[in-house]
């Protein structure tokens, strides 16, 4: 079965996938001969490329974690092999009061998923970390959907994600409100003018 003919598609699907950690300094890379080398910072890596010590597309050694993620997009054509996704996290290390804040939805950056195996396909409660946007190649998906967020949850997640990506929707909303207001005023004025003309 492909993503295209999956019963519900992949938008809002919870899947298990390998997500690579972000490369961080000091960087460990394999040189042109496959020998592991460490570089103090990104500029050192660039210099090593310039000097022919590393390939133009160097190989960073980064670990990857098998974890649940929620996919934010569908790929019905299969033309784009990567999915935008958000990582799911546990929050067992928080104190009780903070755990309750997550469960009560008081932490906007953490979208709470209660323990609901039939719906989410997970054994424990989790939270979607709105600050964990990642791209996952379809070949890195370990499972198909084990559960789904519903349409309302996907909608809320999308709106919050815009906020956490610092996408300012307020100007567009303001423009829409002003445009609508101006149309209403114009229509009202036109109506009044017509009434005045009518004997």
């Amino acid at each position: 079965m492909t993503a295209a003919n999956a019963p519900r598609g992949m938008r809002g699907a919870i899947v298990w996938a390998f997500t690579a950690f972000q490369p961080e300094a000091p960087f460990e890379l394999a040189d042109a001969d496959g020998i592991s080398r460490t570089y103090a910072d990104a500029a050192d890596v660039a210099r090593a490329i310039r000097d022919g010590e590393l390939d133009n597309v160097p190989r960073f050694h980064v670990p990857a974690k098998l974890r649940p993620v929620v996919l934010l997009q569908d790929r019905p054509r299969g033309a784009l092999p990567e999915y935008a996704a958000l990582k799911l996290a546990r929050f067992t290390k928080l104190n009780h009061a903070d755990q309750e804040r997550v469960r009560n939805g008081d932490e906007a950056a953490l979208f709470y998923l209660r323990q609901d195996k039939p719906k989410y396909g997970l054994r424990q409660e989790n939270a979607v970390d709105l600050n964990s946007l990642v791209r996952v190649h379809r070949s890195a998906l370990v499972t198909g959907p084990v559960g789904y967020l519903d349409e309302n949850e996907i909608d809320v997640l999308g709106r919050r994600l815009a906020t956490f990506l610092d996408i300012d929707l307020a100007p567009a909303i303001r423009e829409g409100v002003i445009e609508r207001w101006e149309k209403l005023v114009a229509a009202q004025q036109q109506q009044q003018q017509q009434q005045q003309r009518t004997p």
Partner: protein
């Protein structure tokens, strides 16, 4: 605005009535203010609509940061159930 949540039992504040703004003065000048939860929501909505756009990182709570950090380190993540390989194979 940067938001810091403090449990109520760790501070002593006067109980704000709905719609009431309590200004705490120091040396005769406003030092801090206390508003009720409903007014705070209104303030935050207005700030979002009309205030200058601020990087959201400024408003991240310590709770959100703690979960993010442990998650990014792969430390507090549900364990994979290998039965899923057969039950829900990748498509």
């Amino acid at each position: 605005m940067h938001t810091r949540v403090v449990p109520a039992n760790e501070v002593r504040i006067p109980e704000p009535a709905a719609g009431e703004l309590i200004i705490v003065e120091r040396y005769g000048k406003p030092h801090a203010a206390v508003i009720d939860a409903e007014s705070l929501q209104l303030f935050q909505r207005m700030l979002a609509m009309f205030g200058e756009h601020q990087p959201v990182e400024l408003a991240l709570s310590e709770t959100a940061l703690a979960v993010h950090r442990s998650s990014e380190a792969g430390e507090d993540v549900e364990d994979f159930d290998f039965d899923l390989l057969a039950a829900h194979p990748a498509q």
